[in-house]
């Protein structure tokens, strides 16, 4: 059972994201940026954003180092946020936060829920929830306070 939870946490999709993060690096022309820091593990993440006039995520990249969970979460996040409006992004984030805490995330669109489902295993590891949410909180900071 323990093993099951661990394999669920570190399933292939997650390990793959953490080994080969998508959209990794500095985003030239970013108009928003924020740094996030998790004192628990010393993990750091920087999120670069290009928001268009309506606030849509025209482009997004991240940089950083950290544990498999935080890296995978950041990679999946940028993957999913690209092209979203602020309202959609907000909804995605709320749903994600519910999911990793083991709370109800049924108001997420079917599609998104299916993709994010691989992160659900984290709810069994409360000490690691902060690792999973670091990138998302940093994204939010970038939007709200990170105008360059």
């Amino acid at each position: 059972m323990t093993d099951h939870a661990l394999r669920e946490l570190y399933q292939e999709v997650i390990l793959d994201h953490s080994r080969h993060p998508r959209h990794y690096g500095v985003l030239e022309g970013a108009n928003h940026k924020a740094e996030g820091y998790n004192p628990l593990c010393g993990d750091k993440v920087t999120v670069y954003l290009q928001l268009d006039a309506e606030g849509r995520v025209a482009d997004i990249k991240f940089e950083g180092k950290g544990c498999a969970i935080s890296q995978a979460s950041a990679s999946m996040m940028v993957d999913m946020l690209k092209g979203r409006s602020q309202a959609e992004a907000e909804k995605l984030m709320t749903g994600f936060l519910h999911l990793v805490k083991g709370e109800d995330a049924s108001d997420l669109p079917e599609d998104d829920r299916e993709r994010l489902d691989v992160m659900g295993g984290i709810s069994e590891f409360p000490m690691r929830v902060k690792c999973a949410t670091l990138a998302w909180h940093t994204y939010k900071n970038a939007v709200e306070e990170g105008a360059q």
């Binding site: 323990t2 593990c41 993990d43 544990c67 498999a68 690792c131």
Partner: protein
């Protein structure tokens, strides 16, 4: 040396049974506690003693004439005596109770060094210091223009004593150095360090938070100026620590916290201070904790300490040998004579993920920067995993660690 008359031979198995918590399980697996470097578990006798004291003889200490107050004061001062003996201090007056090792070092910084420091004065410290022996000196840099001079360690984690010697200049006001690194396990050659520093007229502060747990300390033989100890790593309670200091330094130190017990007389426009150590113990001290600490020191001193050290070294050597099979694992810190701490990095596995997997096997290790970010930078790592051994650990604990590591590898890679 300072041990009670009747020293028990050290029986590791029997000792383990003194620690109730070690018989618990986590996630259905037996607890394998390898995080004593962060904080040690407490033997039954420590918890019993604290409770018994609180239920029979408790009151505030000093200045009370009534029976309980005298009884509590006796216990508090007897604890000071126990600490003095444990460190082989010349007198109880060299012993200041603090709230922990961190506060002990800050006390020296605020009360002894801060009033002396001039811009450009130097403080020599090593890259393997714990933040508790770094940040108080950063304060003096930020607030008073002190200059921090860093002494490197060699690749094996041993101290480069020539480099330390060279770092001491006529501007040096203090050498601040750990007795034992909480990451590398390195034990520093204190007597040699002190001799070299004193030859140049520079006092030495020793962070003994790890050292006092694993080594027999004789502050007089070492001739250190300050020695800081924390209770909870010494099998004692939280909320208490100790600063040993030479009397001349204590006399020269101005008060730190102000309040009850540390004064002589207070009026509207004047205040005079009590003699050390009372001068540095403002307010109600950690009374119950002092009694617990004394019980912990008695417990530890009740064993043949050399046998305890040998036991811990055996565990370290065994673990060191076991992990050699993992060519993906790099041990950080292999200094000769090092204490029972094993830090390592694993290829492609973040310390945090590793610790999570070990945890599910019941194995508690520490992952992170261990409050030693300067050292992390020195070894160019963001974090490490650390297994630290105490008197109650055994080879089965090491086996569980090694199995857990193999399992983590199978899950993560």
């Amino acid at each position: 040396m300072n041990a009670p008359a009747n020293i028990k031979a050290f029986d590791a198995k029997a000792a383990r049974a003194d620690f109730e918590i070690l018989s618990r399980t986590v996630y259905g697996k037996p607890l394998v506690y390898l995080d004593s470097g962060a904080s040690a578990q407490k033997p039954r006798v420590v918890l019993d003693t604290m409770r018994d004291f609180a239920q029979t003889d408790y009151a505030n200490v000093h200045r009370g004439v009534h029976y309980l107050s005298a009884a509590a004061t006796d216990r508090y001062e007897a604890a000071r005596e126990t600490v003095a003996k444990f460190l082989n201090a010349p007198s109880v007056d060299n012993i200041v109770f603090t709230k922990g090792g961190t506060e002990a070092i800050n006390l020296v910084s605020y009360s002894w060094l801060a009033p002396l420091i001039q811009p450009g004065d130097e403080i020599v410290l090593t890259v393997m210091e714990h933040h508790s022996n770094i940040v108080p000196w950063h304060f003096l840099r930020e607030r008073a223009g002190a200059v921090l001079k860093w002494v490197d360690v060699r690749d094996d984690g041993s101290l480069d004593i020539e480099a330390l010697d060279a770092a001491i200049t006529p501007k040096t006001k203090l050498v601040a150095i750990t007795h034992m690194s909480n990451v590398l396990g390195t034990i520093t050659p204190l007597a040699d360090i002190v001799a070299r520093a004193h030859a140049k007229g520079v006092p030495v502060l020793v962070d003994g938070c790890q050292g006092a747990v694993h080594e027999i300390v004789d502050v007089q033989a070492l001739d250190v100026d300050f020695y800081a100890v924390t209770g909870h790593k010494l099998y004692g309670p939280t909320g208490i620590g100790v600063l040993y200091a030479k009397k001349a330094h204590l006399k020269a130190m101005r008060p730190f916290n102000g309040g009850g017990e540390m004064i002589r007389e207070v009026s509207k426009d004047r205040v005079t201070y009590a003699d050390p150590p009372a001068r540095f113990e403002a307010g109600t001290p950690p009374i119950i904790e002092s009694v617990g600490l004394a019980a912990a020191l008695d417990y530890l001193s009740g064993f043949d300490r050399a046998a305890v050290t040998a036991h811990e070294h055996d565990l370290l050597a065994y673990a060191r040998e076991q992990v050699r099979q993992f060519n993906w694992l790099r041990v950080i810190g292999d200094a000769p004579g090092k204490g029972a701490i094993l830090s390592f990095e694993a290829d492609g596995m973040h310390a945090h993920d590793l610790a999570t997997i070990l945890d599910r096997e019941g194995v508690a290790v520490r992952a992170g920067h261990h409050c030693a970010q300067v050292l992390m930078e020195r070894f160019d790592v963001a974090s490490t995993s650390r297994a630290s051994f105490a008197l109650y650990n055994n080879r089965a604990d090491v086996d569980a660690l090694v199995e857990g590591l193999a399992k983590a590898r199978s899950i993560l890679i």
